[in-house]
């Protein structure tokens, strides 16, 4: 479904702030793969997602999505294929617009924006049904401005929007990191349900090793702009945080020094 072939990206080349953020990353995802991504700060996890969504062009390599080469496509064109949830709950929704308007915008992802009416009556019923999956009571607040919702509610809504048009790829970028533990667990559960229901191909960055082990069928670890571990199948099922840390030491020859990753349970 997704083929990332040997991509590289250097920020601020030729300056004192030069940073090789991606260093020859290759990754192949099969349809229905749900990959969790872990790694320390600056390992290149978010950079990889930005490369896939096309926030900027990569320096080298190619990105192929469901057979189509998207390497030269800007973000708004790739959006047709990709659903995305950001770390910051404020980033995924338009606060000045109603819940139903946000959903309608997402429902038209990848289609031309014509002069037809922005939300039809028929859609509203569909949105209500989808919103009720979240179990947050949002289905009764269709015309509420999204700016009035809590971070967790907005994140759940973004998740729904990302999957309203079945995406070829769903990208979750630490989408529960800014939420309180109870809300984070709920949003994570909803993510699992949506991915399973539509058999989506998905990638999820997390700083929580246990979450990375519990979710998905495949786990990759990044370090200094490279993928250093790729674990799937039975091996993934039997992983523990302990042997994940051991593997990291074996592969990188360093200790994983990231308190945020170690301390979170």
């Amino acid at each position: 479904m997704l083929q990332v072939n040997n991509i590289s990206k250097t920020f601020n080349p030729g300056t004192i702030n030069e940073k090789k953020a991606l260093n020859g990353v290759s990754l192949h995802l099969n349809p229905g793969d749900f990959v969790t991504i872990i790694g320390g700060n600056g390992a290149g996890k978010s950079t990889l997602m930005n490369a896939i969504t096309g926030v900027w062009p990569v320096d080298e390599g190619s990105i192929i999505l469901d057979g189509a080469n998207v390497t030269g496509m800007p973000e708004y064109k790739r959006a047709k294929y990709i659903g995305r949830v950001f770390q910051d709950p404020m980033m995924g929704t338009a606060p000045d617009m109603e819940i139903v308007e946000n959903l309608a915008l997402a429902y038209r992802r990848g289609k031309g924006r014509t002069l037809k009416w922005g939300v039809t009556a028929k859609e509203k019923e569909f949105y209500k049904k989808r919103l009720s999956i979240l179990g947050l009571g949002l289905e009764d607040r269709l015309t509420a401005k999204v700016g009035l919702l809590s971070g967790g509610q907005r994140q759940a809504l973004t998740l729904l929007m990302a999957s309203l048009q079945i995406p070829k790829l769903l990208l979750l970028d630490e989408h529960t990191a800014a939420l309180d533990p109870a809300t984070a667990a709920k949003v994570l559960r909803i993510s699992d349900e949506i991915i399973t229901a539509d058999n989506l191909t998905a990638m999820m960055i997390t700083h929580n090793m246990q979450d990375a082990i519990n979710h998905g069928n495949r786990l990759i670890m990044m370090h200094e702009g490279k993928i250093i571990l790729d674990i799937q199948g039975e091996e993934k099922k039997n992983l523990t945080v302990e042997n994940l840390l051991q593997k990291f030491r074996d592969v990188s020859g360093e200790k994983l020094e990231n308190d945020r990753m170690l301390l979170s349970d």
């Binding site: 969504t53 973000e75 708004y76 064109k77 959006a79 047709k80 995305r84 950001f86 404020m90 980033m91 995924g92 929704t93 338009a94 606060p95 000045d96 617009m97 308007e101 946000n102 309608a104 915008l105 997402a106 038209r108 992802r109 990848g110 289609k111 031309g112 924006r113 014509t114 002069l115 037809k116 009416w117 922005g118 939300v119 929007m161």
Partner: protein
């Protein structure tokens, strides 16, 4: 001059007789305010192109009329000329990476020369004396109010429709959240260009109507137009919120913004009646706009000020002892 003689010199009849003209002009500027509303409130861009495109609207109208075109054709060309001006600002901003406010200033300055070119180098041009083919005119304020009101109404309905469509929603989303819009497949650069073109088209139409109303176009007629437009937007919103509160929906907002122009001109008439120097009008307008823009900020600050924190701290210290 003592207060008594000052008040004695004010004639209420003068004020009353100036009202129809104020309403007519206010309606014309209300159309301009609707244009400013699109960029200022929806796209969050203070677009200074309008000072130039307003004049362009007037200049194009007068020159084409003098060339013998029917008035409605002159107005359509004026509208399109405004759209082109907005398009240029949009391209400067989105394709060439120039900050929005500077892009607007560049187009505005360029338009000064362009407007003089349009008027064959003259600083002002009048319609032929006794021109009959005017939609609005100073000579017939009642007619001007009716026609101005009709134009405003049609434009409000069109804007309300447009911003409810898929494209209009995408434009609103662009102003509300760039990251989200891109992620939803919206080309935010194109949306900004469309918004700027639409806004300046309305501004030029307003300029066209004003040139008809005053029966000439002047290269300086748009100077400070952005401030008048902002004044109308802000006055309209404040009054709309005061009257309707939470029930102020989008349609209501558009209506009140257009009315903001009328209220602005009524206030100006009153101020002039109170014998304020007309040369000081722009200073007066700037102060009003600055005040209204500052109030929401100051309100927020007063809830969140260090001085208050200090006072509270001292009080609890005293209580603690």
């Amino acid at each position: 001059m003592s207060f008594a003689t000052y008040f004695a010199s004010l004639n209420p009849m003068n004020l009353l007789s100036s009202m129809p003209g104020a309403v007519a002009q206010g309606l014309i500027w209300g159309i301009m305010a609707l244009g400013v509303y699109i960029t200022f409130r929806m796209l969050d861009i203070a677009d200074l192109t309008v000072d130039g495109s307003f004049t362009t609207g007037g200049a194009v109208t007068v020159m084409l009329k003098l060339a013998g075109l029917p008035m409605w054709e002159c107005m359509i060309v004026a509208l399109l000329a405004g759209a082109v001006a907005g398009l240029i600002t949009g391209i400067l901003h989105t394709k060439l990476g120039i900050p929005a406010i500077l892009s607007g200033i560049l187009t505005q300055i360029a338009l000064y020369s362009v407007n003089l070119r349009i008027m064959s180098g003259a600083a002002n041009k009048s319609f032929t004396y006794g021109e009959k083919d005017l939609f609005v005119t100073l000579g017939n304020t009642t007619l001007s109010i009716i026609v101005g009101g009709a134009f405003t109404l049609v434009i409000i309905v069109l804007l309300y429709w447009y911003f409810g469509t898929e494209q209009g929603s995408a434009l609103r989303a662009t102003g509300s959240n760039h990251a989200m819009s891109s992620a939803q497949g919206i080309n935010i650069n194109n949306m900004k260009i469309i918004g700027l073109a639409l806004s300046n088209a309305l501004v030029a139409l307003s300029g066209s109507l004003l040139s008809q109303y005053q029966q000439f176009a002047d290269v300086n007629m748009g100077r400070g137009a952005i401030v008048i437009g902002l004044a109308a937007v802000i006055i309209g919103e404040v009054i709309g919120l005061a009257i309707l509160g939470k029930h102020l929906n989008f349609l209501g907002r558009l209506i009140f913004v257009a009315l903001g122009g009328v209220i602005y001109y009524i206030v100006i008439s009153i101020v002039l009646w109170l014998k304020l120097e007309s040369n000081d009008l722009k200073l007066f307008t700037a102060i009003i706009v600055a005040l209204f823009l500052a109030v929401p900020y100051l309100k927020k600050q007063s809830k969140n000020s260090f001085r208050k924190a200090k006072k509270k701290g001292e009080m609890s210290d005293v209580a603690g002892k």
